[in-house]
């Protein structure tokens, strides 16, 4: 992780990272993904504790944190986008009831 890590990835399967401090759009954030440090350019402001995308996602894709689906994207999401309630919806019990 090194002294410069600014975001955390909980599991190697994750497609989102969590910001460890607040960032403005355009910031290049370094994050360790599967053992390598990557630089992700943020497309929007991301508050501390909030998530941003590590990969481009289509609408309807599973958002993965802790190695598990935490919900489904409701719009296309680009690498570096803020990922939150505006573009993710809960999927109770893993799918529609």
């Amino acid at each position: 992780m090194g002294r410069s890590a600014q975001a955390i990835v909980m599991n190697e399967k994750d497609n989102v990272a969590t910001a460890l401090k607040p960032f403005h759009a355009g910031t290049k954030v370094s994050v360790e993904v599967q053992g390598r440090i990557e630089k992700v350019t943020l497309m929007s402001d991301v508050p501390m504790g909030h998530k941003f995308a590590l990969k481009d996602m289509e609408e309807g894709e599973a958002v993965i944190k802790y190695g598990e689906s935490i919900g489904q994207s409701t719009a296309r999401i680009s690498r570096g986008d803020h990922v939150h309630v505006h573009n993710v919806v809960s999927q109770p019990r893993g799918g529609p009831q």
Binding site: Q6, M10, K65, Y66, S90, G94
Partner: protein, 385 residues
């Protein structure tokens, strides 16, 4: 790998070696407290139940008190009864006897008042304590450890630092052949399908889903829709997007192992590896149920800070919140906040926690023990009558 523990007559192993005074009914609590007072190595259970519980609740009270009496962290047991209670001290004695340890019963109405009972009780526990002092720790494989996991006073650091770090430690214990207990069913809601997916058999998966459905229904009757109330607005402002995410952050503290067994409140696991105990999320009722089920040591994560401790099992507090660690140093054991500064990996914090588990299991005193924090509360489903 091994820890230094106490071997009991029934073959089980303890991390502590105390003499336990159990009031079989709330009326005997004061006498039990006075017997234990001032005697190092003697603890009592602040039990207020034993009269007025019927049906399943009566069974839960008895099962929990017997679970504490048979617990391998306990050397010998003195049961204090009043004399007219519904849950007789003899019933509890019979439950503890198969463990092979010394159990005595004294009854205040027979002896004639509190003062005489306290004097007799003190004589008995002092004698028991002499026996305890003669027993030495011995080297015991880690696969005999049953570790409880719990979280309370959570904040944004819990799901990002302390729970994942404790999860890493739990995975290490399971690799060593040990047992990890995950519990607090109401906190599972929203991620139950994900835990169910890790179950060894479809029957186990259904047991997880049934446990969640039971609590959801109970909460609904009480006027709370847990699924709709979470994540709370404060959670969302803090970055939690969905209920799945919130609940995953909680269950991640037990690691990523397959689920081997689902057990009811205060029951003993029969499998090793990750075991789920169906308990409330109420911190003290949950802790009491896990310890009654044989947990010899507990890892407790907190963000805001809590002093919680058990009368007979060491509880290790882990926080990812630096301010809490510094402000509540006499309650917090381990600081994992460097994870959130990007200066420590979850896996290395997990290793530190795992090493602390071995030290504490071998006798290192936790902050909750230093504070003599001895919380005890039995879960029951209905009112006292």
């Amino acid at each position: 790998m091994n820890f230094q523990g106490y071997r009991r007559p029934d073959g089980k192993t303890g991390t502590r070696n105390d003499v336990l005074v159990i009031p079989s009914v709330g009326c005997s609590q004061g006498v039990a407290r006075d017997i234990a007072q001032g005697l190092k190595g003697v603890v009592y259970l602040p039990n207020i139940l034993g009269c007025g519980q019927v049906g399943e609740d009566r069974m839960l009270v008895k099962k929990t008190l017997v679970g504490f009496g048979t617990h391998p962290n306990v050397f010998s047991v003195l049961i204090v009864g009043n004399g007219c209670e519904q849950l007789s001290p003899r019933e509890i004695e019979e439950g503890i006897a198969p463990s092979g340890k010394r159990v005595e019963v004294i009854v205040t109405q027979d002896i004639g008042g509190s003062r005489k009972t306290v004097a007799l009780g003190k004589r008995i526990v002092k004698e028991m304590r002499e026996g305890a002092a003669k027993l030495n720790r011995e080297s015991i494989p880690l696969n005999e450890l049953i570790l409880g996991t719990e979280c309370g006073g959570s904040d944004y650091t819990s799901g990002l630092a302390s729970n994942p770090a404790v999860g890493a430690a739990c995975d290490m214990l399971v690799t060593e052949g040990g047992t990890v207990i995950l519990s607090e069913t109401p906190e599972l809601i929203g991620a139950e399908h994900l835990l169910a997916k890790r179950a060894r058999t479809p029957e186990l998966a259904n047991q997880v889903l049934d446990a969640v459905a039971w609590w959801e229904q109970k909460a609904m009757v009480a006027g709370e829709n847990i699924r709709k109330a979470n994540p709370a607005p404060g959670n969302i402002a803090g970055g939690i997007t969905t209920l799945e995410e919130k609940s995953l952050g909680c269950i991640y503290k037990a690691g990523t192992s397959p689920l081997e067994e689902v057990i009811p409140y205060a029951s003993h696991p029969t499998k090793k590896g990750l075991v789920y105990m169906d308990t409330p999320a109420h911190d003290i009722e949950q802790l009491t149920g896990m310890v009654a089920g044989g947990v010899q040591i507990v890892l407790f994560t907190t963000g805001r800070g809590t002093p919680l401790g058990s009368p007979i099992a060491p509880v290790i507090k882990i926080t990812g919140n630096r301010n809490t660690y510094l402000k509540m140093k006499d309650n917090m054991d381990i600081d994992v906040s460097r994870i959130l500064e990007g200066k420590e990996k979850v896996s290395s914090a997990g290793k530190r926690i795992f090493e602390e588990v071995i030290s504490v299991a071998s006798g290192k005193v936790t902050k909750a023990e230093k504070q003599a924090q001895r919380d005890f509360c039995i879960f029951k489903m209905n009112m006292n009558i």
